[in-house]
Amino acid sequence: MQNQVENVRLEALKAVEAASDLESLQQVRIQYLGKKGSVQGLMSLMRDLSKEEKPAFGAQVNACKEAISAAVEQKQAELAKKAMNARLENEKIDITLSGNRFQIGTQHPLMLIQREIEDLFLGMGYTIAEGPEVELDHYNFELANIPKDHPARDMQDTFYIDPNTLLRTHTTAMQMRELEKAKGRVPIKLICPGKVYRRDDDDATHSHQFMQMEGLVVGEKITLADLKGTLTYMADTIFGGGRQVRFRPSYFPFTEPSVEVDVSCPFCNGKGCSVCKHSGWIEILGAGMVHPHVLEINGFDAEKYSGFAFGVGLERVTMLKYGIDDIRNFYTNDLRFLKMFDRYD
């Protein structure tokens, strides 16, 4: 009888080993461990044994059952893993196929650079002013120290609508509105970006419509050196770090002293290249200390307060930054052009 048990065990283990898939293994399990299986058959032999013999035989059959169960479980894990591997392999994909085409749009390059400069000044505690493009002569010229028949009006050919109304020729008009609004109270720290218009024939370097961003600070003891420091930060923001800023004397009716501002050429680091015409510097904007007369006519005590102002042409700096050779690109809006400016840079 003992041999009988051993035979069942050996036979079962062999059958388990031979099972090639989960289904045949299941058959084997039923054949040996099922209710009518071989192991159960061995148990039925117990009836014929004496009381003394029963425990030993029972233990033997149980051991046999456990051995078979263990073998089945092990085999089952083995086969499951094999089946999973086969399935995964079957699911293989071509990873070189392109991914889904997600399209991210772009901000207009002028808006992109405007936003970068805005963020710099917001971080320094400036606010952003706004004003109308259809503007009064009063704000565009009169308050900016450019009375009627002032020769400086020749510098800016103006689109007039009627003798008192025009398309603003510079964002200075917004500065004047803000000065008026402040009613002599300081400090004023603001930038004013926007579209401006001048009677220019459109060509590669001229546009009858363009964008400016001006800045204005008024308070106690504001200095020309403060202007230089501020503009150095702005130059770094536009062209990347490490820029140097240089002032050259100039003239604007609303500032005194007035300066043209050059920045050390970002392409050659000031060594001289074709972009800077081998001078090491590129001119980017005009600036100066707010003219005392402008402060006075806007109701500020020019003895007590001083201020600086600057104005940058966004097309100009964007063209310089990216080497864009035709200003009309900004207004033609060719998709191929727009897509080049897909990030802050």
Binding site: G105, G125, E130, K189, I222, D226, G229, P249, D334
Partner: protein, 799 residues
């Protein structure tokens, strides 16, 4: 202005300062030099004499010459010359072999069998501007005087062409530098060198009282200096004067006219010399109340209006004051006596007249930019001096003065402290005094205080800030540190409108749209076909072209034009947005335009192709408004009852938030888009004003649902014309609180559905916040919904 280096050096010592160095120093000090150009150029030149000249045997126009360029026998060269005026005995300019001329290098050559060792030159070949040369000089070689020194190598020095012209771009405030004398003062200050003006003062204090009378009938002429000169001899000007005038860009006429121009260039004061015989009344009255036609010096006829200042004699106009003289009283070769005018005319009046008549003369430019009142006396003195010397002038009468200069010397007080405070510098009093002295401001120092006595010609200096500018520009801006304003802290933050614009940009680019900026100015056709014009279009008073005549009242046509351009350039999937103001008379509005042309998701490989159609655009608008705080309960899409001219009447809608109309969106009308060669584009133009003025809902936390939801799908058969909106509305109302959401997930028409009907699959989600719904509750709610659908929409459950 054109600045002659040589002329300038008459007044200020420029030794050791090259023209290029001078240009650099001037630019650094604020007088920007845009170009430096030699009047003539060429190396290895020499003055020679043509000894022999014969016709070239193999040419019908060339000559062969023997030219002597020195005293030794070996200094004779054979040169082939093509000029018609070459002949034996002529003194000429010779470019030797190896000479570098503007047109190239001179080599020893063989010209049709004849050796040629050099070139005989015309002035044009030496780079002299044709403008200053006669036709004969341009056509042939330059004929030098008989006494020209053979062998002289400083040819340009001999010819007076050894000059360099600096092209100075003057800022409007520095009109004083339109005077050579004042320019010399400026350069002297920059270089810290002495400046010497000619000794002219008091030269016009000669002559007896005469009968000439002056009258000023307008305040626009504050002062008028006049002088009769009874004898002048008209003839050619001295060569140096011609050269200097040429350098300044002025043609030489004759000695008398040239002197008037030369003195204007020196002093900055415009002058006019009249032929005295053509002023028979011996009287001049300045008026500004005439309306007439008159012929000016250049022979053209001009319309004179009230306000133009006129010079009249015996009631007849003889000059447009400060702009141009009249033809009648012009100086010519027969002039024997003259009357000199040096007057001060109103800046604004001259500017208006000169611009209106388009006569931007040297005189007008000066008056327009501002002339010092003390210039009249200077110019009169200098005129008398030069006329006596170069035009044999005599018979001077006493100078007549009408009006007065009313000159008040300007004194400006500044302190060193204020100067350093404004500039952010730490200049010493020594540095500041040095600059102010160099500028001839005669500074008086008293402790911290500096008193500046401004020279009469510096009419731009009025205030302490002007003094500070002089100081920094002459010491140099390199002395400035980099600092930041030391102010009480301020908060830099965006306004709600600015935040909203950023939200738009971020959302739209997230949808894959590209931002465009199009022109504000448009033509009449675009105005006439505007979508929802904000008002009556504003026209420019003087447009540059028909296409840029009006300020746009809507964005539609500009954006369609942009799409048209992109299609024409084979760009596909052109999805754009623009944020811009539009203007009408007395009104402005900010708008957002969106255009979809093509697929918004275009990925056939992975089976995702989403067309840019009405629903794509509606989805974008819905999602964007939600991002702005306007969820579905506040956003309404209504039938388009406003614009079926630009929009497809059945594929467009109005969008509203609360009770505010934003705009129409949808398919562009096929007939309208055809005008732009477009097809199947969708467009939205929405006003942003309600968003600027309205209030989006705040973000609100609500506890996450703790009890499970149950979903029920139903398929309904209902009439085709019943809209999704109607259907969902019934579900919402009938389901009351238990319906958490409901959505349509399929619509079917075709077999098994009767004609005129559609089958709609609907998923309803039931949920309660405070308990798990029981089967009874759900069934009851569901039955109520089905009953309502049947009753209100005649919708049947599909079998």
């Amino acid at each position: 202005m054109k600045l002659s280096y040589k002329w300038l050096s008459e007044y200020v010592d420029l030794s050791g300062i090259s023209p290029e160095e001078l240009a650099r120093r001037m630019t650094t000090a604020g007088l920007e030099v845009e170009g430096v150009e030699a009047v003539a150029s060429g190396t290895n030149l020499v003055i020679g004499e043509v000894l022999e000249c014969w016709d070239h045997p193999d040419s019908d126009h060339l000559h062969v010459t023997k030219v002597r360029v020195g005293d030794n026998p070996e200094d004779v060269y054979q040169i082939v010359c093509g000029a018609p005026n070459v002949r034996a005995g002529l003194k000429v300019v010779v470019a030797m072999v190896g000479s570098q001329l503007p047109g190239g290098k001179i080599l020893a050559r063989n010209v049709r069998g004849q050796d040629s060792n050099g070139m005989i030159c015309s002035l044009n070949e030496l780079g002299v501007d044709k403008h200053w040369l006669s036709e004969k000089q341009i056509a042939g070689i330059e004929e030098l005087p008989e006494d020209a020194p053979v062998g002289e190598k400083d040819v340009f020095g001999y010819l007076g062409l050894d000059d360099t012209i600096l092209d100075v771009s003057l800022t409007p405030n520095r009109a004083d530098c339109l005077s050579m004398w004042n320019m010399a003062k400026e350069v002297g200050a920059i270089l810290r060198r002495e400046v010497h003006w000619p000794d002219y003062a008091g030269k016009s204090d000669v002559g007896e009282k005469g009968d000439f009378r002056l009258a000023l009938a307008t305040e626009k002429c504050s002062c008028f200096y006049g002088k009769v000169v009874n004898h002048v001899k008209v003839g050619p000007s001295p060569k140096w004067m011609v050269d200097y005038l040429h350098a300044a860009g002025i043609n030489s006429i004759n000695n008398v006219v040239d002197i008037s121009n030369f003195v204007m260039m020196e002093t900055g004061q415009p002058l006019h010399y009249y032929d005295l015989s053509k002023l028979p009344h011996h009287e001049i009255t300045v008026v500004d109340d005439r309306e007439m036609k008159m012929v000016a010096l250049d022979g053209e006829e001009f319309d004179i209006c009230k306000g133009d200042i006129l010079i009249t004699t015996g009631g007849e106009a003889t000059g447009i004051a400060g702009v141009m003289g009249g033809e009648e009283s012009m100086i010519d070769e027969n002039t024997q006596a003259i009357f000199i005018e040096a007057a001060h005319f109103d800046q604004v009046a001259v500017r208006r007249t000169s611009i209106r008549l388009n006569l931007i003369t040297e005189a007008a430019q000066r008056f327009t930019k501002g002339v010092e009142v003390m210039g009249m006396r200077k110019a009169m003195d200098r005129s008398v001096q030069l006329l006596a010397e170069y035009a044999d002038a005599s018979g001077f009468e006493e100078t007549i003065v009408a009006g007065s200069e009313n000159y008040q010397p300007v004194v400006v007080k500044e302190t060193l402290t204020h100067c350093n405070e404004l500039l952010g510098t730490s200049f010493t009093m020594e540095q500041v005094e040095d600059v102010l002295t160099a500028l001839d401001f005669q500074p008086e120092i008293n402790g911290d205080e500096i008193l500046c006595h401004i020279p009469s010609y510096r009419i731009d200096i009025e205030r302490p800030a002007d003094i500070d500018e002089e100081i920094i520009r002459l010491i140099g801006f390199d002395s400035l540190q980099n600092t930041l304003p030391a102010l009480s802290a301020t908060v830099g933050q965006l306004t709600p409108a600015q935040k909203l614009r950023r939200t738009i940009r971020d959302t739209m680019t997230g949808f894959g749209l590209h931002e465009i900026v199009t022109y504000t100015l448009i033509g009449e056709n675009f105005v006439n076909s505007a979508y929802a014009p904000v008002g009556e279009a504003i026209a420019l008073a003087m447009p540059m072209s028909e296409a840029r005549k009006y300020i746009r009242t809507s964005l539609l046509n500009s954006v369609l034009e942009c799409a048209q351009y992109n299609r024409a350039h084979q760009n596909v999937n052109n999805h754009f947005f623009e944020i811009s103001k539009v203007y009408g008379k007395g009104v402005e509005e900010e708008r957002l335009a969106i255009l979809l042309d093509g697929n918004v998701h275009d990925d056939p490989l992975h089976g995702h192709v989403i067309p840019g159609d009405f629903y794509a655009l509606k989805g974008m608008i819905t999602a964007w408004l939600e991002k702005c705080g306007y969820n579905a309960s506040r956003v309404h899409f209504n039938e388009n009852r406003r614009d079926t001219e630009h929009f497809h009447p059945f594929m467009s809608a109005e969008v509203w938030i609360d009770n505010n109309f934003l705009g129409v969106f949808g398919r562009i009308h096929p007939e309208y888009e055809r005008k732009f060669d477009l097809k199947d584009v969708v467009y939205a133009e929405l006003s942003l004003e309600p968003l600027f003025h309205g209030k989006g809902s705040r973000i609100r936390y609500s506890a996450l649902d703790r009890y499970p939801s149950v979903s029920r799908d139903i398929a309904l058969v209902l009439k085709k014309e019943i809209t999704a909106g109607q259907l969902l509305d019934v579900v919402k109302k009938a389901g009351r609180k238990l319906v958490r959401s409901s959505e349509i997930f399929d619509i079917y028409e075709g077999s098994h559905v009767p004609e005129g009907y559609k089958s709609v699959a609907l998923r309803i989600i039931y949920q309660a916040a405070d308990h798990t719904l029981t089967e009874d509750e759900i069934t009851q709610a569901h039955t109520t919904i089905l009953t309502s659908l049947k009753k209100q929409l005649d919708a049947e459950l599909r079998a």
